[in-house]
Symmetry: none
Subunit: 148 residues, 4 copies
């Protein structure tokens, strides 16, 4: 199950509305569960490298199946190993704010990445967009083996 283009665009609209409130032009990227881009929008005035940065955040959150900031502990405790892992995907695996897994009713749908503000601002924009559209905000560090 992957996020639809319509739902991706709704997330982008909500993120842009949050960016307008802090008066910073941002780039928002939505990827599917495999980390492939569904939609990207770079606001006027937003810097050229933002799509690459936001894609890395969205990709990380989709394929690592938890928000990119949740990787910070790993990146700090095993910097050498994490540096190697960070190049093992199709895009960089980044341990930073501004990337969120998109999930509803326990179902993974993709990843959301925001670039254009401070790390905290990028994160707040992600959170605001996901909250506005009713996606989940809590993620576990580890998956479990499903039994039923």
């Amino acid at each position: 199950m992957n996020i639809s283009l319509q739902d991706a665009k709704a997330l982008i609209d909500a993120a842009q509305a949050a960016a307008v409130r802090i008066d910073k032009p941002i780039t928002v990227v939505v990827v599917d569960t495999g980390g492939f881009v569904v939609a990207t929008e770079r606001m006027d005035g937003a810097r050229p490298l933002q799509p690459s940065i936001a894609t890395a955040k969205a990709y990380t959150s989709a394929v690592m199946q938890r928000p990119s900031k949740m990787l910070k502990g790993w990146a700090e405790s095993q910097p050498g190993f994490f540096a190697q892992v960070s190049t093992m995907g199709h895009h960089p695996i980044v341990a930073t704010e501004g990337g969120m897994t998109i999930k509803r009713n326990g179902q993974l749908l993709g990843g959301l990445g925001v670039s254009g503000g401070t790390g905290d601002e990028d994160q707040e924009i992600c959170d605001a967009a996901l909250h506005a559209l009713g996606y989940e905000s809590a993620f576990a560090e580890w998956n479990t083996i499903k039994k039923d």
Copy 2:
């Protein structure tokens, strides 16, 4: 001068309308004159690698400053040299249908790339979108030295 996000989204809407007419889900990418992504949309059902393919087409058309299909003669007459040139940019330089330079009143604004149909279909979708919005459709093989 670079294309605005609003104008990029209008081009994407027009391209999607053309894709609906041939009943094929596509991905459309718009880049600025430096080849940096402004907007990407992958329609539901469109395959995962389309954004990469469409980005290469849009990038090529922006930085080579002419439609990507106009490079086919070069690619055919000097295949070895063209293969080397094709890796000199930030994205692959591709000699194929489905990439158009975005230009109005002689002013370069960016590049448009479409992936999802045959080469001819991708090209027709580009042409339809640019035509619908009044962009230029004729490009010279060579730039000239401006005098005034």
Copy 3:
């Protein structure tokens, strides 16, 4: 809007004049707003790798849209993430002295990079050249959303 070759050469001349004053052979690179080289000059006696270094500084300042030294805070606060971002462009994104965004009347025109002295000397040469030709010297950490 990109810097013209004539204006790029005037900047190079001004930078070389500043280099003569400190008696160090330098390399100066000017790129356009997309980060593509407009002009490079390596003075006699200047070392072979300087063009690559100066290109990275100029590229960074053009596509990050602020002087390369303004990235030092980011590079220091998030070294792992910044290392990843530093490879996302067509040339390395460097957080160091000696790279300046070229801007006049609020209009981005390109990037200037100098290599050949200490970081401070390279920066002073950039500043002297930009000042001599009336370009802007103040840059904001963040862009804002333009309204009108």
Copy 4:
């Protein structure tokens, strides 16, 4: 012995004068005997990727110590092997028109690369510039072991 910046700029001026005669904006690159850039100039209207292409031509002609077009026989007779060799340098080794070794009185001084016209035009511009400034135009396919 390497070409001086002043002599490199004189070659660039001569090449640009030849480009004006055919009304095509070009990029000219001069490298030293080690293949490191001495000077690059991209004329207004010249396309963004020309500096990369012209650098490859100049680099090839400097480090292969013969005009880049003289490699065409090799590239054609051993395409697989040549493709491998072509990536063994610091820049692509290209077998095409528009790159010339810079040599005077039997002394290698560097390489000249031109991009912006057809292969033949790029070559004619190189030839015109080298001729105007009295550099050699004849090169042997093979070096010999100097005896004296």
